[in-house]
Symmetry: C2
Subunit: 219 residues, 2 copies
DNA sequence: ATGTGTGAATGCATTCACAGCC
DNA sequence: GGCTGTGAATGCATTCACACAT
């Protein structure tokens, strides 16, 4: 019934975010239009794939010409919801947590950290960016007060599930987990995992797998 | 001709690494055998999928019983190459770089940082873990001397491509890129990208997409 | 002519269902 | 009986090829 099915494939969403970034640099460079081929090579994808990705937003280019940079940028910004600022809390202020807390890439994308939490008294009170690290006991209150919808977990593996439970109970609907464990969350709460050592391991494996072919790869 | 085609799908490799971690905790708990169902739920995947993943290594379970924890662990360790320690260099010692430099998860997985590099004189000489940050001019020498095969890039976006070029020229075959740009590398060099803000954006999008369904999700 | 938008086709990956072995 | 290993089937995602608009 509805002309545009509201479901955009996850893989596509990830690429849309990349296109948005490339478009930003193009706009800075003063470009007003781009072709799918150009945009695709800058984003490291296939041109046809890029067009298919964009087709999920409905027609947004001009045939024979290409895409208007500013127009497409606005469209992507709106679809991805980069406009509204979304409140995030971050739990576990170790090295990685500290790094994420003042990672510039987040702020410019509409993500705002409204609470940093750690269990260790040594960390509590410490300033990072323009926030002060709070004790874990304040977690629920801050989530409630700020309406934070996103939680980022950078704790040790052992306590991650407990934090996940508390975040979910507090009303956080989306969780990004950096702890090396698989988290279970109630239905309606979306958990996404980033495992840095898995990434490295895949990379290393593909590397060692490629070595044998290095000899006779002419075929 | 060859009984085991040497190509394991990338998605499978990523999960094998997860299984290996789960097996480690099981072994610590004193378990000697596991069923695919149990292992799968601990890893957050489908049991049949897990069995298919493991089938790429040839038969390694006992029908009617399950998998021997230690045996499977050895097998995975060998296939993923966790045995040999692999030398890595890390370029860009900002917050994220520093966090990765002493991230415990790497060392226990066979990855050893043998060089940390930064352009800023303020960073050079600084100790992180048991290494001292070096100037970028030493990059090629260190790669050559250590035979590092893996490079991790945590620099600002503007300089990432240049670093990528230098790493590739120096003989690094695998690059893990955290900078928010799409890197181009010569054939034979494998680049893998982790974009933290893209992860967050996907998470946020899926979250906002899920909200409408929250009303009538009973089906 | 040029480059988008999109059905059709291909290739991957996940899931199912069951045969085979313990 | 129970659980692995795996062909068959389903569902996704990518790629191709071309119609269509400018």
């Amino acid at each position: 019934m509805q002309p545009r099915p509201r479901t955009i494939p996850e893989a596509t969403v990830a690429r849309l975010a990349v296109y948005l970034r490339v478009l930003a640099t193009l706009a800075d460079g003063g470009r007003s239009t781009v072709s799918s081929g150009e945009l695709a090579s800058a984003a490291g994808v296939n041109p046809a794939g890029l067009r298919k990705d964009l087709s999920h937003l409905g027609p947004c280019g001009v045939r024979g010409v290409g895409y208007d940079v500013d127009l497409l940028r606005d469209r992507l910004t709106r679809v991805l919801g980069v406009g509204r600022s979304r409140a995030c809390v971050l739990v576990g202020i170790g090295n990685l947590g500290s790094a994420l807390a003042d990672y510039a890439g987040f702020g410019t994308r509409g993500f705002e950290f409204v609470g940093l939490f750690d269990a260790s008294p040594a960390r509590i009170g410490q300033r990072i960016g323009n926030l002060q690290v709070r004790g874990l006991d304040e977690l629920e209150d801050v989530v409630a007060a700020t309406g934070a919808s996103i939680g980022v977990i950078t704790t040790p593996a052992e306590v991650a599930q407990g934090i996940c439970d508390r975040l979910a109970a507090a009303g956080v609907g989306s969780i990004l987990n950096f702890a090396p464990v698989t988290l279970a969350a109630p239905a309606g709460v979306d958990v996404r995992k980033v495992d840095l050592s898995v990434e490295l391991q895949v990379l290393a494996f593909l590397g060692q797998q490629r070595v044998p072919a290095e000899v006779g790869e002419s075929a």
